[in-house]
């Protein structure tokens, strides 16, 4: 069955990933330099210059270039990132075997060994701490012994920790992408997703992300998930790109929903800079898609309901210890109260926030109207809303009454058309019965 949710499940950075080196936009000279370096290895020859370092700001396609080139030219890619580089043993285990052409079937992407291998150490400037020297030494050893080409990737090539590595490499710099390059690719995605995008909206996204393609694409996806009729307006673009990185939210949600222990669920929440209120809105909004069993849904919501009560109590009584129960219940409390596994991740922007922001202008009009009426009718705005407004809506269905309402309250055109619309919706309500 087609599930409209699914299309937002996959990050667009993966869904719209270029398939060839040519499709990767920007940094043309650097790309060329990389291909020239790789050329002898592509042709199955050895080369003196075994190691290259690609460096530059995040989100501009360094790792992508290596991955796509490996696929395109038939290399098995042995890839290690920050996590794998945390200690010398894992580096040795993975890259050590690979570089010496021993049985490393399980480490390759395709499952078959080809004669061509490419070793990638990603995010090497994340190497730090007391073990850093060990790890670097291991890498240097691997570089010396390897029969295969090695790529290092860093944001900052001049980080002193990696100076020894740097001296072994050919350096290739990658620069921030120009706005034109980012816009070109965003438009391409819009076309493939059948999105209607106003140029100004794409400009906002591209500019806010300052040459970061990954960030731009994820913001575009967020804006799309918020849009109603597949149109991306500048307003949506603004909301999307001003938010803390959306992929952070996706990651946090995934970590929470797939947590097996209370501790790991809670830690997922603690690690992020996201506002807990915002996360709560995301979690609540997505719950029914993640837990379809009524028992689980009820149990998960029970946790959220209690969490909200603790939060309010902590603020009312200024007893902040209660806040930790709030945080634990909206993360661990939800995930560990249920019996079933979470359904495949399909996280959407909270609908209630979307509706609330759409109705913002309308609500402001209504509030103004309620305040005007409140003075005239000697009643609070709540009372006016509940005990007068529904009747007024019926009363003004008679045109002369609408006129006299307008002169009675000296309403402007906007407020008048608001009340007219409200009146019509109430009558429609009747006709549907």
């Amino acid at each position: 069955m087609f599930n409209p949710q699914l299309k937002y499940g996959l990050p667009w950075t993966i869904k719209h990933r270029p398939k060839t080196v040519e499709e990767i936009v920007g940094n043309n000279e650097s790309k060329q330099a990389f291909l020239i370096w790789l050329k002898p290895w592509i042709e199955g020859r050895q080369s003196k210059q075994k190691v290259v370092m690609l460096y530059g700001p995040p989100g501009i396609g360094k790792t992508l270039l290596v991955e796509v080139a490996a696929e395109q030219y038939g290399f098995d890619l042995i890839e290690m990132n920050a996590g794998d580089l945390a200690n010398a043993e894992s580096v040795k285990r993975i890259a050590g075997f690979a570089s010496r052409n021993e049985g490393i079937l399980s480490f390759t992407r395709t499952g078959e060994t080809s004669s061509k291998r490419l070793i990638l150490f990603d995010e090497i400037d994340s190497i730090e701490g007391p073990k850093a020297q060990d790890i670097i030494n291991t890498m240097l050893e691997i570089i010396d012994n390897s029969r295969y080409p090695i790529v290092l990737i860093a944001n900052d090539a001049w980080n002193p920790t990696i100076s020894l590595l740097r001296s072994k490499c050919q350096l290739i710099e990658f620069k921030r992408l120009g706005i034109r390059d980012v816009l070109y690719y965003l438009k391409k995605i819009c076309a493939e997703e059948n999105l209607l995008c106003q140029d100004q909206a794409l400009h906002i996204i591209a500019e806010r992300n300052n040459g970061d393609m990954r960030g731009s694409i994820l913001d575009l996806q967020l804006a799309a998930s918020m849009s109603i009729n597949k149109t991306i307006t500048p307003a949506l673009a603004n909301v999307a790109s001003s938010r803390d990185r959306i992929y952070d939210i996706f990651t946090v949600l995934r970590k929470i929903f797939y947590a097996r222990t209370a501790l790991s669920a809670r830690d997922a929440l603690n690690e992020t800079a996201q506002d807990p209120e915002m996360l709560l809105a995301w979690i609540s909004s997505n719950l029914p898609y993640i837990y379809t069993d009524p028992k689980d849904l009820a149990a998960a919501y029970e946790a959220l309901s209690l969490a909200d009560i603790f939060k309010n109590a902590s603020e009312q009584k200024r007893y902040w210890r209660l806040l930790s129960y709030y945080l634990e219940l909206i993360s661990a409390g939800v995930v560990l109260s249920v019996k079933s596994k979470p359904a495949k991740s399909t996280y959407n922007y909270p609908k209630s926030l979307r509706i609330a922001s759409q109705l913002k202008e309308k609500r402001a009009l209504k509030q103004k109207l309620l305040e005007t009426l409140s003075k005239k009718l000697h009643a609070s705005t709540t009372k006016v809303n509940n005990e007068y407004l529904p009747y007024i809506a019926i009363i003004v269905s008679k045109p002369e009454n609408l006129k006299s309402l307008s002169s009675w309250l000296r309403l402007d055109d906007k407020t008048l058309s608001f009340i007219e619309e409200y009146s019509k919706s109430i009558q429609k309500n009747l006709n549907e019965k």
């Binding site: 959220l304 109705l359 009643a379 007068y388 019926i394 009363i395 009454n401």
Partner: protein, 328 residues
């Protein structure tokens, strides 16, 4: 004089003598006004029986044509906390001397039972601070929601629901004045839906008159149907059918489109429970859950979370009633 659109306002009693059926209260108020000796007062009673109207009429009686200058109307449910109330009183009102020969001003604080106990405690201090030059009239639906220290500082007047004959008499007067043709069963129907709440009765009459030249019971019930969002019943039915997401969409509509508060929604669900076409045991289960969540709404901060959770619990009730429970 500007034309009042709303009949409830146009026919609001202006003088103490116009107030219907609260004779004891009126007698006492008249003597206060005559002696210019006024205590703090608490008007308690159901909606639409004339508490606020009486307070304003009293101000007129007391101050004559200067009543507006000497009277401050505040709504407890609209003011953001007691600090605003205090500041408003201090800055705008209590500083200047009363106009005329009455040595104090009058503050009408409507819906004072909307205040939390803490706010009421602060209000009590405000009443003491300004006691020399300000008198308070508090109105509320339930006097037991007002803290004891305030009750003991006020003269409490209880307002009764209007009796049927008096209410219909008033409606007939309005109908005649406005040239509306109302059948006898029309009046009966209005009484049936308003039950002594004159505001509701007059609003219903005026709405019915806008829909039809002749107001009969059909038109009256039509008005009632229009004013009650059908979304509440739909929301309940969807939840019982297990359609959580659809039910929640209705919830959003009620909250963000109709502007209903969490309490409004719960109380409307409450009314609908008894009309549900389902097993009686299910009704009781929903009732228990509903009570629980009305309580949680009071204790919590995020109405949307509480109400979504309520829906999830109702979905579960509906689900368990359809699936045989092995445990039993």
């Amino acid at each position: 004089m500007e034309e009042e659109l709303m009949w409830a306002e146009k026919y609001r009693p202006k003088r103490l003598d116009d107030i219907i059926d609260q004779d004891d209260v009126i007698r006492a108020l008249k003597s206060f006004a005559k002696e210019k000796n006024v205590p703090h007062m608490l008007f308690a009673g159901p909606a639409g029986v004339g508490k606020t109207a009486t307070a304003i009429a009293f101000a007129r009686e007391l101050y004559g044509e200067n009543w507006r200058e000497n009277t401050l109307e505040l709504n407890a449910s609209d003011e953001r906390g007691i600090d605003t109330v205090r500041e408003t009183i201090k800055e705008r009102f209590a500083r200047t001397l009363p106009v005329g020969d009455v040595p104090f001003k009058l503050i009408i604080l409507d819906e004072s039972d909307a205040m939390t106990a803490d706010a009421q405690t602060a209000l009590r201090r405000v009443m003491e601070i300004f006691a020399r030059n300000v008198r308070f009239i508090l109105t509320c639906n339930y006097s037991n929601k007002i803290i004891e220290p305030i009750q003991s500082r006020t003269v409490v007047f209880r307002f009764n629901p209007l009796p049927k004959d008096k209410a219909i008499e008033r409606l007939k007067f309005i109908a005649k004045n406005e040239g509306v043709n109302v059948s006898e069963d029309g009046y009966e129907a209005i009484w049936d839906v308003s039950a002594g709440d004159m505001r509701k009765a007059i609003n219903t009459l005026q709405s019915a008159a806008a829909l039809s030249n002749i107001v009969n019971s059909d038109i009256v019930y039509k008005v009632v149907g229009m004013t009650r969002p059908k979304e509440v019943r739909e929301l309940l039915n969807l939840a019982l059918q297990g359609k959580f997401s659809d039910a929640r969409d209705k919830l959003y509509e009620l909250m963000y489109n109709y502007g209903l508060s969490g309490n409004d929604i719960v109380s409307q669900i409450h009314r609908e429970i008894f009309r549900l076409n389902t097993d009686e045991s299910i009704k009781i289960k929903i009732l228990k859950t509903l009570g629980d969540y009305e309580y949680r709404l009071m204790e919590g901060a995020n109405e949307e979370i509480q109400l979504s959770s309520l829906l999830a619990q109702i979905v579960l009730i509906g689900y368990e009633s359809k699936t045989p429970q092995r445990e039993r």
